[in-house]
């Protein structure tokens, strides 16, 4: 078995933190709030254009069917209807979307509208554009589509079985991707084990973060230049452009992405390139701007879902003292009907292969299947959340089976603070962290010492009390090179983000970002970094709201996704501001007659001579000289523009695709949650009566903003654990298609939530910060563990699903042996 050391020949970039104490680390009020609390934000449906058409999609009522006839004549005859778009037009005018999967699955054809066949309920078949929202719906009702239904494939575990209907004719089976991951020496670990715990099946369910603003766009086409302007809430324009350019057969300069305020994203707004292509075609065809605002029911039925996953034939070799040596499992991921961002989920879980544990021997057979359900896409915690829930279930089931304490077994197996940076068996390098300390802090938050007293108190009231822990990682600043592990032909690697910072003619400091924030407060935190570096106040810094790919602040991977702004976005801001600072110092030195920039410094919006602070040049004068009076400057300073652009590129390397080995992300924030539940054994109804969340994301630029992310992410995982689930019937109908049936937490549903933090600075990032925001998945584990703990006195059922609504708990209470039969221990 291998040792837990960082490979010596692996270069590690440790950057010095140069910023002086100032606004970094302070709860500066958000710059975004003033417009948002007054209803003066600009969200996508607030954008209006003269003569704009409203688009409504005619959608499939079948999960799987051949389209035999489409007739739009009645719809287009309706007064006020501007036109329609059909799949056959899309197939003629665009190429199918680029596929990440290698052949044969990579041969499948995915277009902006269904072509010849539908593969999930809600799939867009025809687009109708009309003068009003209401008329567009009326016209859509008049479109006639005939279908020949086909067998619906809905069962993840058996989607690839012989004889099951095929979704994509071009691919020979419903298996999208399969790969074996083998790290350490699993066979030796098995031979060495004193006990082997076996779990037949665990299930991570399908849900999504369901941002309150649905997807949408206003698309304009400039016929003179052939350029589209896409006002949208797409959260990853870099990816959308990579997908849309080839489909529309244009370069990226023809696709101008613009957004200001976005009403939540959580990953669910990454894969809207499909609808955006339909809108581009309509805007060009109809010669008018088009608006598409997705209805909530459409968002649930046919937009991004989080990946569903089953874990089969799990095997865990354990020593008698509770040291776990690794695990073996077969995992099947269900990506729904199309591979829009997939099969990247087949490698992204491997960022956190051993979770937070010192497990060195891992053997995973990972496959992904397509089914007649809504396509999946990234969802807060994307692919790692599923895997980390699995690692936490494993540890609690092993503890239960071997009679070990859940706290002690964690501490025995956690990676230790003195082992950081820690290289995992598959080559990921966890940058920093102290998981045991975070666990102690989480237990303090829920007053763990009083649990037995509270358990007896609950029992006196006829309730069963349980405690559970969730330990997760939020890996951020991903290395797109990991895509080559799923498809070695791909030419993606590294990562980047860009910012520009300028000092303009009136002395204003203006920052542009390449990101597309959806509530993550980028305007505020960017201003904090700039203010510290230029020795001004955050109020002196204007950060442009939103994103525009024409601002020259767009890099290939621009967007807001995958927990990285504090690293890539602020890294770019820091880089650009340092360039600007140097230029301001040069101008100041020249004007103030200093020999070099060493003799001047910044302060209060001035460049000052260090030896005579009275000799000071205001920033306004610097801006005016360079922009409008530059003949006064010596020739050697005429290349100064005071408009600085910096692209932050993390120190990633190409992974070893053969071994599926390498550092897949730059930072690894961690979260330890502790949850206390009280269950009514008569009904299965339970309450979360206490909850503590500890987050360590390195240096926090703005602690209040970080805490807000922690609270929000936790609420989402509690919602997912207790109520939220996309349930399909056997015919592929979604039974929870809106907020009426899909219950997200309301104010009364939320438990008392306590938070605290630990700051383990990342040695690898410009500011010591780590990406964060996706760490709430710990709640799914903590709730599952707390329920299993509470039911110890009621037949000891094993919690095997991430979805635990009241009726599921009731089922566990009614038949505990059913779940226990899935688990066994081999004594050696």
């Amino acid at each position: 078995m291998s040792e837990t050391t960082v490979t010596p020949d692996r270069p590690i970039t440790v950057e010095e933190t140069e910023t002086a104490p100032g606004f970094i680390g302070v709860n500066v009020p958000r710059k975004e709030d003033r417009r948002l609390v007054q209803g003066e934000g600009v969200f996508v449906d607030d954008v209006k254009r003269h003569g704009m058409a409203y688009v409504h999609f005619v959608r499939s009522p079948y999960a799987h069917a051949a389209i035999t006839r489409i007739d739009v004549s009645k719809a287009v005859a309706l007064e006020g209807v501007y036109g329609t778009l059909l799949g056959e037009e899309v197939a003629a005018e665009t190429d199918p979307f680029f596929q990440i999967a290698p052949p044969p699955a990579g041969e499948l054809k995915d277009y902006a509208l269904a072509v010849g066949k539908v593969r999930h309920v809600g799939e867009p078949v025809v687009a109708v554009a009309a003068a009003t929202r209401e008329l567009a719906r009326d016209a859509a009702d008049l479109v006639e589509v005939d279908y020949e239904p086909l067998e619906a494939v809905v069962d993840t575990e058996h989607a690839a079985d012989p004889g099951v209907a095929q979704l994509h004719d071009e691919a020979p089976s419903n298996t999208i991707w399969q790969g074996n991951f083998d790290y350490g020496d699993y066979d030796a670990a098995l031979a060495e084990a004193d006990k082997v715990v076996r779990i037949k099946r665990l299930h991570f369910h399908r849900f999504s973060s369901t941002p309150l603003e649905t997807s949408g766009a206003v698309v304009e086409y400039n016929r003179g230049t052939g350029q589209w302007t896409i006002h949208s809430n797409n959260q990853f324009p870099g990816f959308a452009i990579i997908m849309m350019g080839p489909a529309l057969k244009v370069g990226m300069d023809k696709l101008r992405f613009v957004s200001q305020d976005i009403g939540g994203g959580f990953g669910n707004k990454i894969c809207t390139h499909v609808q955006l292509v339909a809108l581009c075609l309509l805007a060009r065809k109809l010669k008018r701007a088009v608006n598409w605002t997705e209805w909530r029911t459409d968002q649930h039925t046919a937009n991004s879902h989080g990946n569903e996953r089953v874990f089969l034939d799990v095997e865990v070799p354990v020593r008698s003292d509770g040291t776990m040596l690794g695990f073996k499992a077969r995992m099947i991921d269900d990506c729904g009907a199309f591979t829009r961002y997939e099969p990247l989920g087949c490698i992204i879980w491997a960022q956190v292969t051993p979770g937070v544990y010192r497990w060195r021997n891992v053997r995973v057979d990972f496959s992904q299947v397509c089914t007649n359900k809504s396509p999946c896409g990234p969802n807060r915690g994307y692919s790692r959340m599923q895997h980390l829930w699995f690692t936490e279930r494993v540890i609690d089931i092993v503890a239960e089976q071997l009679g070990l304490d859940p706290v002690e077994i964690r501490k025995r197996n956690y990676i230790r603070a003195d082992e950081m940076p820690y290289e995992t068996p598959n080559g990921c390098v966890y940058d920093s962290g102290d998981y045991a300390r975070c666990l102690d802090d989480a237990l303090k938050l829920i007053d763990y010492g009083s649990i037995e007293t509270r358990r007896r108190d609950a029992e006196s009231r006829g309730k069963l009390l349980g405690v559970g822990i969730g330990s997760t990682l939020d890996s951020g600043t991903n290395n797109f090179g990991q895509s080559t592990i799923v498809n070695p032909e791909l030419q993606f690697s590294g990562n980047n983000e860009v910012a520009t910072v300028k000092l303009d003619i009136f002395g204003e400091i203006v920052v542009t970002l390449g990101t597309t924030p959806q509530g993550q407060s980028h305007e505020t935190t960017a201003a904090q970094v700039v203010a510290d570096l230029l020795q001004v106040e955050p109020d002196d810094v204007t950060v442009r709201a939103g994103h525009d790919s024409y601002w020259n602040s767009h890099a290939g991977f621009s967007g807001t996704y995958a927990s990285q702004f504090a690293v890539t976005g602020l890294g770019a801001v820091k880089g650009a501001t340092e360039m600007l600072r140097e230029e301001i110092l040069k101008i100041g030195a020249a004007v103030l007659g200093a020999e070099s920039t060493e003799e001047v410094e910044l302060g209060g919006g001035f460049v000052k001579r260090k030896d005579n602070p009275e000799a000071a040049l205001p920033f306004m004068a610097c801006g005016a000289i360079v922009n409008a009076n530059n003949a006064v400057l010596p020739l050697e300073l005429r290349d100064i523009t005071l408009n600085c652009r910096y692209v932050y590129v993390p120190p990633h390397q190409l992974p070893d695709t053969e071994r599926k080995y390498g550092n897949l992300t730059l930072t690894y924030a961690n979260q330890i949650h502790a949850c206390v539940v009280e269950v009514d054994p008569e009904t299965g109804v339970y309450d979360i009566v206490d909850y503590g969340a500890v987050d360590d994301c390195g240096i926090r630029i703005n602690p209040q903003i970080v805490e807000g992310q922690v609270q929000g992410a936790t609420a989402q995982s509690i919602g997912a654990a207790t109520h939220e689930t996309f349930v399909y019937d056997e015919d592929g109908n979604l039974l929870t298609p809106n907020f009426y049936d899909y219950h997200v937490p309301h104010a009364l549903d939320m438990p008392p939530m306590k938070t605290s933090s630990v700051e383990s600075a990342s040695p690898f990032t410009p500011l010591g910060a780590k990406g964060m925001g996706e760490g709430g998945g710990a709640g799914l584990s903590a709730v599952a563990a707390a329920l299993q703990n509470a039911l110890q006195g009621a037949g000891r059922p094993i919690v095997t699903s991430s979805s635990n609504p009241y009726h599921r708990v009731w089922e566990l209470l009614q038949n505990p042996d059913e779940s226990r039969s899935l688990v066994s221990v081999d004594e050696r």
């Binding site: 709860n27 009020p29 958000r30 975004e32 709030d33 003033r34 948002l36 609390v37 007054q38 209803g39 003066e40 934000g41 600009v42 969200f43 449906d45 607030d46 209006k48 009003t132 929202r133 209401e134 973060s209 369901t210 941002p211 309150l212 603003e213 649905t214 305020d261 976005i262 009403g263 939540g264 959580f266 605002t293 209805w295 909530r296 029911t297 959806q518 509530g519 993550q520 407060s521 209040q704 903003i705 805490e707 807000g708 992310q709 609270q711 929000g712 936790t714 609420a715 989402q716 809106n738 907020f739 009426y740 997200v744 937490p745 309301h746 104010a747 009364l748 939320m750 939530m753």
Partner: protein, 161 residues
């Protein structure tokens, strides 16, 4: 046979300003506000009346404007989020929302503010449970409600700043 009436002239007062418009009988109040009057601060987050992003006050009562037809509002006085700070000075609730970081993406915020205003107009000193009950018809997907509840409590105590 006479054609059924498809539209109707309505008169409403919105944030103190009177508007007369001929509206389609089926037009939702929220679309009347957003599309006809260009008051886009009131948002739409669902199609089932669950999310509360479209909450406005109609004659002082908090209602979900996606669950009311514009013609039903004829003759009423409506207050939307745009009316909370008419002179640019933030309402105590708006100030408290920013002080307590009660918003992230800001999409639910206008509806949340109007529900909170309705609560405080009728119950100036609410308990935490009363605050949570008052906003249970407003979904927020970003915050977990912790800071929203604190902000409303602070505004009630005059501690918005």
């Amino acid at each position: 046979m006479t054609e059924p009436i498809r539209s109707q002239l309505i008169a409403v007062e919105v944030n103190g300003e009177r508007h007369e418009r001929d509206v389609e009988a089926r037009r939702l109040l929220v679309h009347f506000l957003r599309d006809d009057l260009d008051l886009t601060g009131t948002h739409v987050g669902c199609d089932t009346g669950n999310c509360g992003a479209c909450t406005v006050l109609v004659d002082g009562v908090a209602i979900k404007s996606c669950m009311m037809l514009a013609v039903q509002a004829d003759g009423s006085s409506i207050q939307t989020v745009e009316g909370l700070a008419p002179d640019g000075e933030l309402h105590p609730l708006q100030q408290a929302f920013t002080s307590f970081h009660a918003l992230q993406c800001g999409y639910c915020t206008p509806g949340m503010l109007m529900s909170a205003k309705h609560l405080l107009d009728h119950n100036p000193e609410p308990t935490e449970a009363e605050i949570r009950r008052a906003i249970q018809g407003n979904i927020c997907r970003c915050t977990g409600y912790v800071n929203i509840v604190e902000a409303i409590a602070a505004a009630a105590k005059g501690g918005g700043a």
